[in-house]
Amino acid sequence: MELNLRIWRQDGPDTPGQLVNYHLDNADPGMSFLEMLDAVNEQLINNGERVIEFDHDCREGICGSCGMVINGRPHGPAQGSSTCQLHMRSFQNGDQITIEPFRASAFPIIRDLKVDRSAFDRIIDSGGYISTNIAAAPEANSILISKDEASNAFDAAACIGCGACVASCKNASAALFTSAKVTHLVNLPQGKVERSTRVVQMVDQMDTEGFGACSFTEACEAVCPQQISVNHIAQMNWEYNRAKLGM
């Protein structure tokens, strides 16, 4: 299939960027979206030009490295899918596809489609864990956890930290990401001990990093490759209020 691509090129965080047109005439419907970009890069190399930089690694939807805005939508048109799992059969021959980086002031552009998402790590560092020492754990079955509790925790813990939620949000809020970690841990008995300090520290860090506030448009859930529910944001807000009220 033939494709007309408009791809964001930007040398670095302090230089201006622009959309550049590329043409690919040998795309295959069975290709993944990233394999299509590999083919564009192969053309660029043959022309002696520098390649389009983008983050990617596992290419099976679990590492969370990849992510770009495809025709205005983070990770593109497929539901519950990361960019690497999107295949060209989702497009038509002759389509024009616009590809941009995840944009947010808390995700500075490194180059082209590569952005700096280290703010996410700092949110986790601020308290997104259970303070247990590695060898200090009690016998695993001494903590009974109902199927529902485990399943609720898993649904939140499935977050891959890609940042699509931020990119989709008109406020560039990291509420879905942050809440997924908050609720993953608070839904488990072993995570309840630090529930108050954790949520306050993580929300504070989220604000410090420059992410916007959540105004609950639910755009994040719509683009999340793991289909993480905005209910987690509601629960995080509840946990935050609970902590602030000293309940």
Binding site: D125, N141, A150
Partner: protein, 638 residues
């Protein structure tokens, strides 16, 4: 050639580790603060080691090439992690688990290490649960289990089909806690380019900052590699695109022996390649074999759609050949059986390079809902990639390189042949012999990082308490940094006609053909020749655009492929020298009349550990394997 001493403690196998722990030297808490340990890699092994060392109070510098420590390839392991908890009351215990791994590895692993892995599995599950890993649960709230290939008990703990991700989030949270405590300094987007060795001892590393391109020097009292396996050398594999051997290979070139490099696990259930654009093969978890049945059309070339082929014209070849284990035979056997069917013309799918994995009977028996609850995300993943609904049509699956049992030679303490250099997890060789059992890789990575290394490293560092760090102005640092810069300049200056990917794909195809599921003297000799030619071509004809001091993913790929081009040859040399078939290493010349592996215990019951030489062939050293706790038998899964 020398015989290597693995420093295995004396005493009965079940006492060795506790004896070791009771007698090894320690570093006290006040002194740990003064010591720096570099950890390369943030997966379950490296990340686990970093977190554990941070907890102990060491100053840890943790490096990963990803943008975040949460993305290491441990994240992609699907099926589960084994532990001898015997929660199912089905006769499991530490010895049985140890025995299964020794037998599964076809008696080419080190007994004492394997026993320790099984022993520590019990505590590992406790640790993960305490960290908040949401394992599958029974209705009463206790932990659930399932079964994996090569065993007859249910000892696998799992979190849907994302167990690796969930364990890694546990590790990552332990890392985050130490970052906050100021004990781990985290360096994301930094890739190790060389090891710095002085007087036979590891004193630091050279890394490249992937954003600025700057080459940096870092010194430490000890260096720990947790850099994973090298199956990406085949290009088409289940590994992530960035998986590489550079850290391990550079350590090898600085004096660390590389053991059993030809032992590569080919996973029987990955998705087949569907075209020439393919960049990776996605794994479909082995857990699917609990409920899915593997078959091919009995008549070769039968291209009816699978639903139209009646049972009488299907060959459920694993159930037929291995009735005791059926679809749950170990990976090496299942992969080779699939290859046999495909080679005989029974392959299915557009490229006739696959077999069917069929859930028809399981859905009829348990209902779609149950199957969905067990494997929902895997079926979803399959549909995303292929566009096919596996609830209706059988999956197409094919063998794909997946794990490397070979790796840096380490002694019982996980120290390589370079003093002060340790290797944890997949980048070492010790625990899986010539074939790894499913759900033992997460286990090994975790116990190496969380439990073993933090104990054994103290035994070394206790003797170095008074020694200051070597200065990064040392001539050894100068030399290593200049070498890294020279390599980069050389790569960028070639400006040839072929991309890095071209060389990687060609190398991968050569290795798959010559040193893949089955190997022969002829194929291996051919492989060596072809790889040498390809390496020469690479250094005269590779084309890398962009510069050294900027983000440059082509340059990153090139520095990895340049090492793969050397490692590939050593893999062939190792496979050529081992004139027997064992586990994943199947030499066509050494098989029974029925086509099963023919092991040669008199000749080859040893670990081959290769020493690098700047000029000429590598030197073979041997670590003889002795088995005291098990009787060495012929594997039989019939």
């Amino acid at each position: 050639m020398t015989m290597l001493d693995a420093k295995i403690p004396n005493g009965p196998i079940e006492k060795k580790w506790s004896e070791y722990q009771a007698t090894c030297a320690l570093v006290n808490a006040a002194n740990r603060k003064k010591m720096t340990v570099i950890v390369i890699g943030s997966g379950l092994a490296g990340g686990g080691a970093a977190a554990a060392l941070g907890e102990l109070g060491y100053h840890v510098k943790l490096f990963c090439f990803h943008d975040s420590t949460r993305r290491a390839h441990s994240v992609a392991a699907q099926g589960g992690v084994n532990a001898a908890k015997n929660y199912q009351n089905d006769g499991d215990n530490v010895y049985r688990m140890f025995y299964d791994a020794i037998k599964g590895g076809d008696y080419r692993s080190r007994e004492a290490n394997v026993y320790r892995m099984a022993e520590l599995s019990v505590r590992l599950i406790d640790t993960c649960v305490a960290q908040g890993v949401p394992f599958a649960r029974e209705y009463g709230g206790s932990l659930g289990n399932r079964s994996f290939g090569g065993v007859q008990v249910e000892r696998t703990f799992y979190a849907q089909g994302q167990t690796g991700q969930q364990l890694l989030m546990g590790t990552n949270s332990a890392i985050a806690r130490q970052v906050k405590a100021g004990r781990i300094e985290r360096f994301s987007r930094h890739e190790m380019l060389d090891l710095v060795v002085k007087n036979g001892r590891a004193i630091g590393v050279i890394v490249r900052d992937a954003i600025t391109g700057e080459i940096e020097r870092h010194a430490a009292h000890a260096v720990v590699l947790g850099t994973g396996g090298y199956a990406k050398i085949y290009y088409l594999s289940t590994m992530a695109m960035g998986c590489n051997a550079t850290a391990a290979w550079k350590a090898h070139k600085r004096g660390a022996f590389l053991a059993n490099p030809s032992f590569v696990q080919v996973h029987p259930t990955s998705l087949p390649a569907l075209g020439k654009h393919q960049s990776k093969l996605t794994l479909m978890s082995e857990s699917l074999r609990n409920d899915g049945r593997i078959w091919v059309p009995a008549k070769s070339g039968d291209d009816r759609s699978p639903e139209k082929i009646p049972d009488s014209e299907r060959d459920y070849y694993l159930e037929r050949k291995y009735p005791a284990f059926g679809n749950l035979t170990p990976r090496d056997i299942a992969a080779r059986a699939a290859k046999e069917q495909i080679d005989a013309g029974h392959g299915v799918g557009p490229m006739r390079n696959a077999v069917f994995l069929d859930f028809r009977d399981a859905i009829a028996q348990h209902g779609r809902e149950i199957i969905q609850s067990r494997y929902g995300n895997l079926f979803g993943m399959y549909q995303k990639i292929t566009g096919i609904d596996a609830y209706v049509t059988p999956m197409l699956i094919a063998p794909s390189p997946h794990f490397t049992m070979g790796g840096l030679w380490v002694d019982y303490e996980l120290m390589t042949t370079i003093e002060g250099l340790y290797a944890c997890g997949e980048c070492n060789f010790a625990d899986h012999g010539s074939n790894r059992l499913g759900a033992n890789s997460l286990l090994q990575a975790c116990v190496d990082g969380y439990f073993i290394l933090p104990s054994t490293i103290g035994n070394f560092l206790s003797g170095r308490i008074k020694e200051p760090l070597y200065s990064t102005d040392d001539p050894e640092f100068d030399q290593a940094e200049s070498k890294a810069r020279e390599d980069i300049q050389k790569l960028l200056s070639i400006k040839g006609r072929q991309s890095v990917d071209y060389f990687h794909r060609t190398l991968g195809a050569t290795l798959w053909d010559c040193c893949g599921i089955s190997r022969s003297r002829e194929s291996l000799n051919r492989g060596i020749e072809q790889i040498r030619d390809l390496r020469e071509q690479f250094w005269s004809d590779v084309n890398i655009t962009g510069g050294a001091y900027e983000p440059n993913s082509e340059l990153e790929k090139a520095t990895r492929v340049m090492d793969f081009l050397e490692l590939g040859e050593l893999m062939c040399i190792d496979a050529l020298h081992r004139e027997e078939s064992c586990g994943a290493h199947f030499r066509e010349e050494y098989q029974t009349k029925e086509g099963e592996s023919l092991r040669n215990d008199e000749g080859f019951s040893y670990v081959s550990a290769w020493q690098h030489r700047a000029e000429g062939e590598p030197i073979l050293h041997k670590e003889p394997l002795s088995f005291e706790a098990v009787n060495v038998m012929t594997r039989n899964y019939k």
